[in-house]
Symmetry: C2
Subunit: 514 residues, 2 copies
């Protein structure tokens, strides 16, 4: 029928536009983010429109201090590069704050809680909240915020962007002749899935996100959680029995294709996995508590007033600007010293997920995670963990668009990598050298990179209370089918611990507080 | 509370028992199935309780003709092995038919439609249909049917087994003090997920099966399907843009981690993928039509009467027995000539999913799929396809427990392998030898094994109309994250084609006809 074909046309066209928009946000923010550090002077590639830092050939990347004064070293780094780095960020963030405070306050934060409300039937100024103006400002705002290096992610807000695109097309194509609010909500659910899908390149994860988090409309969350637990338990017990047909051919990796090497380590490694899960649950609780504390108790207000009296200005909006600038300044100072934290959060996440090359003569650019000694790496990771937690809890709430999914993933991956390094050190200490000699790198040595994946999953569950969706996103994101079992374990523990500590996730808490 | 803890206790205990039961069914049917062919005379392994054919060391397996008369060759094969092969199968099938016809007719077929009814609220003699007696008979019946080599699977019926186990425990632990039919149905949904999970070692696939197929209770099927399409389209468009940041570093595998080698082949290979999808949709329609024709038009009745007059007997039950025996005899004759078809269906499926070893000197046992020339392999696969389709459409409906998921997967994998071989032959013919020389086996040569995975997914979708669930099951089953994109494409095409041809899946058709 004409109605069905219009509906499908709207869905397909909007998903193509979402794909383009997400790509545009990605490309622009990579470019603006890199510009803060320097320029890549290599011939532009066949396809590339720009030469980002991450793919710039070795030796072709030039920091600003080199370009302007041909100076290298830490003095010129702090005297030239740091001011330029911060100045660019100030430009981006001023524009983003201007859009948010003066033009369109609705683009603030992630927008997922509001969309949850809309899909569950509440008519939250729908044609304005999901209109063309909001779409434009949110897209521009997101690019600027991500480029400025704040501890905020673009992943959650992509749901808002995607819903805007769908709603505008719905108004143009479907709404004119067939007004139907139920259909609009049905299509908005699909747009939510699309948003998460492009955020993590995870189509199935997106669909599960809708099913798990839009619970008021769909209800099956409890049933999914029950099913998920029982299905996993049964499969683990079933697979254990393969030992009886396969005998000594039975390999540990047959258990959910997990490659763990030595079987005894499988059981011992459960301790760090459970720890990571519990940390994830506690992180979620702490994040929500600290973040609500800033919002509810007037801490932000006090800070804004202090800043106002410090510069001798007045007015609510001036206070909001000053708060954003202060957050940016603190973020720039804290993130500048370490190369890894100057990267965009998702690039840093990818590095945390990547195992160190075994061949030390490799020509690949290696990050501090692999090049430093274990002790220094542990110190640096702890530093990133602490500053990241403080910055993200405070940043999620200032007058800027930006979400909390990516910061949670990064904090989880950092914790995981840290715990992985510690476990590896313990293992190396207690294992005899003869035993280690029979190990290949991929068999019985603890892999900190896989701990990072597990930690990221646990932390994302802690802050969102989602389970299946997180597991699927992790293996669509990393292709890490081999870690499904520990990821599931950590996610379950995280959810249990978090359920004991608090009853609602970050989005419901946001709705409660407002 | 006491209620919640009882509920969780029931869920966990029942899933552990389901794991054990599924393992018991697997082990017993492997053993009984192998016994039809011969015995493995090797030392029993550390862990093994038995030595199955598949893991028996080379040279240690002895066919019955060797054990009894020390005779090898095709004469002794047909004179000694075939009668023993059929005789054992007759023993198993007689017992299975006796249980189904005389003891408990409720164990017939898969049981998924009935459980769908129960979960949607219809009280289908619940304590009998999901009682201890049914559990016992269905378990025994399943083992016997699978061991006898009929074209019926144990995967669907495991849902019935799992629901029986949960319902019995529910009666013992929860029901006594807190009668609540809504809770019972909630737990039965979890048990359904557990059944599918153990059938395919796919916990997340199990959960999605419940969400997609138990639509009357949960409703979000339409929304899931919309979301699945839009999410996939958006991600494909987004990922294509990575070419602009990665430039010539962009690899085709970045697109959904698909490793296709030559980019031009990616686009040309879409033709066989779409063909497989369409074939899957048509298969589903044909299967349902032919199967319903047997059931509704009285064909079974005519056949039973012919058989009765042939042996000079009478009576409805005698006719049912004779029908089962006739199906078994035809199956034994058709499956005996080829080694692969004497295997259990799930072992054959694994072989179809496995790529041929590149090194020809390998000591591994290779199947005809790899050892024969392409022409013979194509002939054999076509033969398996035709006999499998006829046998499974007729077998699904005789008085025996057994499901249709595994036969559909095997038929799909066979078609896929067939089409893969043909595509590979076309490719080799039209590609210049210089170009082929630059190819590695894993880069630009078509892999028939991956076509088998795609075909299996398309055929399962064709018969069940499930989409996301099938994609997830395929990658939990095979670990084939690299084929996600073509699997999704084939599944979508299959669903579209099938929706055009018919409106209900095999389970709903079954409910309509009864």
């Amino acid at each position: 029928s004409s109605f069905t074909s219009r509906k499908w046309f709207t869905l397909i066209v909007s998903s193509i536009i979402v794909g383009y928009t997400a790509a545009f946000i990605d490309l622009s923010s990579v470019w603006l983010n890199d510009l803060r550090k320097g320029v890549c002077f290599s011939k532009v590639d066949t396809w590339s429109l720009l030469n980002p830092y991450s793919t710039c050939p070795a030796g072709k990347w030039h920091d600003w201090s080199v370009i302007l004064f041909n100076a290298k070293g830490s003095v010129s780094n702090w005297l030239v590069n740091f001011p330029i780095y911060t100045l660019f960020a100030f430009c981006w963030i001023t524009l983003a704050a201007y859009i948010t405070i003066h033009k369109d306050p609705l683009i603030k934060q992630s927008g997922i809680p509001e969309i949850k409300l809309i899909i569950s039937g509440f008519n939250y100024r729908i044609n304005y909240y999901l209109g063309l103006q909001t779409l434009f400002y949110k897209t521009v705002g997101l690019i600027l915020v991500v480029s400025s290096g704040l501890w905020l992610g673009k992943e959650g807000p992509l749901v808002h962007v995607s819903c805007c695109i769908l709603n505008i097309l719905y108004g143009l194509l479907v709404n004119t002749s067939f007004e139907n609010e139920a259909v609009r909500r049905e299509l908005l659910s699909a747009a939510t899935a699309t948003g998460i899908a492009v955020a993590f390149s995870s189509p199935i994860g997106g669909v599960l996100f809708v099913l798990e988090s839009m619970a008021t409309f769909f209800t099956p969350t409890k049933i999914m959680w029950n099913s998920f637990i029982t299905a996993s338990v049964a499969v683990i017990f079933l697979t254990g029995f393969r030992v009886f047909t396969d005998g000594s051919n039975f390999q540990e990796k047959d258990l959910f294709s997990v490659e763990f090497g030595n079987f005894s380590w499988l059981f011992l490694e459960i301790i760090p996995f459970i720890t990571l899960g519990a940390l994830g649950g506690i992180y979620g609780y702490l994040f929500i508590t600290v973040n609500s504390y800033f919002d509810k108790s007037g801490v932000r207000h006090v800070i804004q007033n202090r800043l106002l009296s410090l510069v001798g200005a007045s007015g609510v909006k001036a206070g909001q600007y000053l708060e954003v600038f202060a957050v940016l300044l603190v973020t720039s100072i804290l993130t500048f010293p370490i190369d890894e934290t100057k990267l965009q959060l998702n690039t840093f996440l990818t590095n945390l997920f990547t195992a160190c090359p075994t061949d030390t003569d490799t020509s690949e650019a290696i990050t501090f995670i692999c090049s430093s000694s274990n002790g220094i790496t542990i110190l640096k990771l702890s530093y990133i963990l602490i500053q990241g937690f403080i910055l993200s809890t405070y940043s999620f709430g200032v007058n800027l668009p930006g979400g909390i999914l990516m910061p949670s993933l990064v904090l989880g991956a950092t914790s995981g990598r840290l715990l992985g390094l510690i476990t590896q050190a313990i293992q190396t200490k207690f294992l005899s050298s003869e035993f280690l000699a029979t190990c290949t790198e991929s068999s019985c040595i603890v892999s900190p990179a896989s701990y990072a994946v597990i930690g990221a999953a646990a932390f994302m569950t802690g802050v969102t209370k989602l389970t299946m969706c997180v597991v699927v996103i992790m293996f669509e994101l990393t292709g890490a089918v081999s870690y499904v079992l520990p990821i599931m374990l950590a996610v379950m523990i995280s959810k249990f611990v978090n359920d004991v500590l608090c009853t609602s996730n970050i989005y419901d808490t946001f709705l409660k507080n407002n």
